[in-house]
Every structure is written in C-alpha cells, then in structure tokens.
C-alpha cells in the first residue's frame, strides 16, 4: 500500500478533566472518504479540529502524506494550507463579499495575485452554482448557500485533504440536499475526506468506510453496508436504533 493520506495514532485530548479522545488510531488512504458517526460529545468534532491543529492535543501522532505534523518546529500555517476544514456554523467572514471570502486564503496564505485568485475563485463558484452570488455579502445568502461558499473557500486553497465538521447540522432540512450534493461532487473529484456527520443515509451513500466513535475511541469501523446493516458492537446497534427511531436513517 502507498503512503496513507493521513495516519493518526494514539491521539489523546482532554478538556480539563474530561478525556474527549482516548487514543484514536486511524488511517485514511488517498481518495478515500471516511465518515465519522457517533453521538454528540463522542469526539468527532474534536478529532477533526486536532487534525487541522486548531485544537492542541495531549499526545499522539498525526502524519499527513508521510509528513509528521506533530514533530517539533512544524509550521502550523503551512500544515493548515494543506488541510481544508468546513465548520458546522459556516464561519464566513461577514464583512467580506463572497468573492473576497474565497480569495482571502489564496492571496494571504499562498501569495497568489488578486487576478489569479479571483479567476480561480470565480471558476470554483461557478462550478457549485454560486457564480451570481460572488458580489453578495454572506448575510444575503441562505444557510445552504453560505455553507456552499464555505466549502468553496476551503477548496480554493487546493487542499490535499478536506475535513467536514457536521456541515449540515445547522441547516434547515430543505437546504441539506444542496450542500450534500456539493460534497458528493467534491468526493467524485477524488478528494480525500474525513466527514463527521449525523446524516446516516448520506454517510451510507458516500463513504468508503464508516467509523463509529464512542467514548473517545473508534469502537467499530468498516464499509457502510456492514456498519449500518450488521454492526458487530452492541453500542453501535444501540446508536443506530436511536437514529432510526428519530427518523434519520
């Protein structure tokens, strides 16, 4: 097997006395889409934030394409340029137009000229049906459009890996589909992705592999067909039963 896109070993993280991640081991191959499922508080979001070095962690190693992010003297800004993240609450910059939101990273962090950054941003926005929104400010957009812009903003950095942190959880139900479709398209383009999600049918549909997080560890993982139809662990079954009862599967 070639070098993994991401290799995580023994990742631990505590908030005060609460240990949120208790030793996560996970390898993600190039072009693989891995969905993280699990109850709120199981550590999905924290794991993604640690990967992007937004959250300091206590111990463990993270290696991206052979480069150890946890080594001493690693330039965190350079690491973050290679790893895109999209947040649950979009976090667009409200004082900038859609176009400026998308070009800020390439211009400031990658040193692209305005002309080049704008040309690339315009092309990306057009690809995701947002061409006519480039001059608007985020408060003029629907939640779904804002989240699509946030995805485009991350893609504009041409990341090697994308982390999606429950990107549809804050959306009205009727806006979820447009965002999921964008993610499907990104996955179809071969992007390696780690997706924390509560959308089980989406996970079943898009993931090459599903990981069930429980109590800060990956309790069970496997192809979606296996996890969703005949989970091996009692805890996984209970979780899925609750999801089904809530009508989310």
């Amino acid at each position: 097997m070639s070098v993994a896109a991401v290799s995580i070993s023994g990742l631990r993280k505590s908030f005060g006395k609460t240990e949120v991640l208790r030793g996560i081991d996970l390898e993600v191959a190039e072009h693989e889409v891995v969905c993280l499922i699990g109850a709120s508080g199981s550590g999905k979001s924290t794991l993604l934030r640690c990967l992007n070095l937004l959250e300091p962690f206590d111990s463990g190693r993270i290696v991206v394409r052979g480069e150890d992010l946890t080594a001493r003297g690693v330039d965190v800004n350079r690491v973050r340029r290679r790893i895109g993240i999209v947040f649950q609450s979009y976090n667009l910059f409200p004082h900038m137009s859609v176009l400026r939101n998308v070009t800020l990273g390439p211009m400031k962090a990658l040193g692209r000229s305005r002309g080049q950054a704008e040309a690339e941003a315009t092309e990306l926005l057009a690809r995701f049906g947002l061409a006519d929104r480039r001059g608007d400010y985020p408060d003029r957009l629907s939640g779904g459009q804002q989240q699509r812009v946030a995805i485009v903003r991350a893609l504009a950095m041409k990341p090697e890996l994308m982390l999606l942190d429950e990107v549809t959880s804050a959306l009205d139900p009727e806006l979820v589909a447009e965002v999921l479709n964008v993610i499907r398209e990104v996955a179809a383009g071969g992007m390696t992705m780690l997706i924390a999600t509560h959308e089980m049918s989406f996970a079943r549909d898009i993931a090459n592999r599903v990981c069930f997080l429980d109590g800060g560890v990956i309790l069970e993982q496997g192809p979606p067909a296996q996890i969703f139809t005949k989970p091996g662990e009692e805890r996984t079954r209970q979780f899925l039963d609750r999801i089904i009862a809530a009508g989310r599967l």
Partner: protein
C-alpha cells in the same frame, strides 16, 4: 443677572476673538485624535497577545491603561505642561500646546484602547479559527478578519470618546495656550461680564451636539440591522 450672563452686546463683542481661539481647540482635537486612534489600537492589540512570552507586554499594557484612566486629566496636563518645559533641556519642546496635546493623547489612548479591546473581544473566536484554518498567520487573521469587524462595531463608543476629547481640549487653557476657554477668561477679566464664557460654551456645543446626534444615529442604525437579523 441678565447683564452679567446674557448680555447680547458682550456676546457680540467677544465672539470673533473667542471663535478664532476656538480654532486652536479644533486643531488640538484633530491632532490628538489622529495619534490616539493609532496608539490605542496598538495598545489593545498588545494587551491581547497570547501566551506566556508576552506576559510582560500584557502587564505593561494593563498598567498603562489603569494608570492613565485613574489620574485626573488636568493633573497630567499640569504635570507635563508646566513640568516638561521647566526642565529647560535642549530638544524638549517648550510649547504648552504641544504638551497639552501629549497629555490628552496619553490619557485618551488608555480610554480608547479599552473601547477597541471590547470590540476585539466581541468578535467570535470562530472567526479567527476560520481565518487560521485557511493558513493565515495570527497577524494576518487579526488584520484581515478580526480588526475590521471589531472596529466597525465600536464606532459609536469611539465617537463618544471623541466628544469627551473635544471638551477636554479646554483644559489645555490652564497652561496658557490661548484656546477658547482661556480667551473667554481673558475677556471676562477685562469687563467682569460672564457672557464671554457663554460664547465659548456655544462654540463647544456647536460641535459636540452634532457629534452626539451622529453617534445616536449610528447606534440606532446598528440596532435596526441587528434586529433585521443581519450581522454587522
């Protein structure tokens, strides 16, 4: 009382001189404000520097703000305005107006930095996280994402401090700089008619009231926007 306070003839007679002197108040205000806006922002940013490395810097910034907010303005003006020229050192300006401006800058920088700080703290941490997640450095995130939003939010309270500064320019008069208050004092001592003070008062109010209304208007507009569910 009518002749001593509301004497129309006295008002008319001193108005030209006092308004000419008032130009000095406006000048002091404008020069001081330009420095205050820059220094205060710098102080607010220094105070927000993270990590143990910057602990001494933060401590100094806090000490500065505490000290200059605690000392009466007139005391600082007297101390520097009378004290600094009295040293008679080469290269130290002897202009009382200069030292008056320096004092106002020292005091108001402390106040205005608190306003900026409130603005910076009002920007949700997720905004900085989003900027950093794109690979922007801390400085870039501050400059492109945090500060532009922070400054926008504190414009009304900033204008409030402008009004205070405009009034306090009169304190420089105690040093002998002939600004509107000093000029009216001169006029009063000549004929013991207090109407001349009223002239200075109207001039101040002519500037501060429009500023206050403008501030109110900005605050109201801000509130309307928030109620409409829009971010500022």
């Amino acid at each position: 009382m009518r002749t001593a306070f509301f004497n129309w003839d006295a008002y008319r007679s001193s108005f030209p001189e006092i308004s000419r002197a008032f130009l000095l108040n406006v000048k002091i205000f404008l020069i001081a404000e330009a420095f205050i806006l820059v220094f205060a922002l710098l102080l607010a940013v220094l105070r927000g520097l993270p990590g143990p490395v910057f602990f001494p810097v933060r401590l100094l910034a806090i000490a500065y703000a505490d000290f200059f907010r605690g000392v009466p303005t007139i005391l600082v003006i007297a101390l520097l305005g009378f004290g600094a020229p009295a040293l008679a050192l080469d290269g130290i300006p002897t202009s009382t107006t200069f030292w008056g401006i320096v004092s106002l800058v020292l005091i108001y920088t402390a106040y205005v930095s608190e306003v900026y700080r409130a603005g910076i703290e009002s920007v949700h941490p997720s905004q900085e996280a989003a900027a950093r997640s794109l690979g922007l450095t801390r400085t870039q995130a501050l400059g492109s994402v945090v500060l532009p939003q922070a400054v926008r939010r504190v414009i009304p309270p900033l204008l409030n401090d402008f009004i205070g500064l405009q009034k306090d320019t009169a304190l420089v008069g105690i040093l002998g700089s002939v600004e509107a208050f000093k000029q009216s004092q001169i006029e009063v001592s000549a004929d013991f008619n207090f109407t001349h003070y009223l002239v200075a008062a109207t001039l101040f109010v002519a500037i501060t009231i429009p500023l206050a209304r403008f501030t109110d208007w900005l605050v109201a507009r801000d509130r309307r926007r928030r109620q409409a569910g829009r971010l500022v």
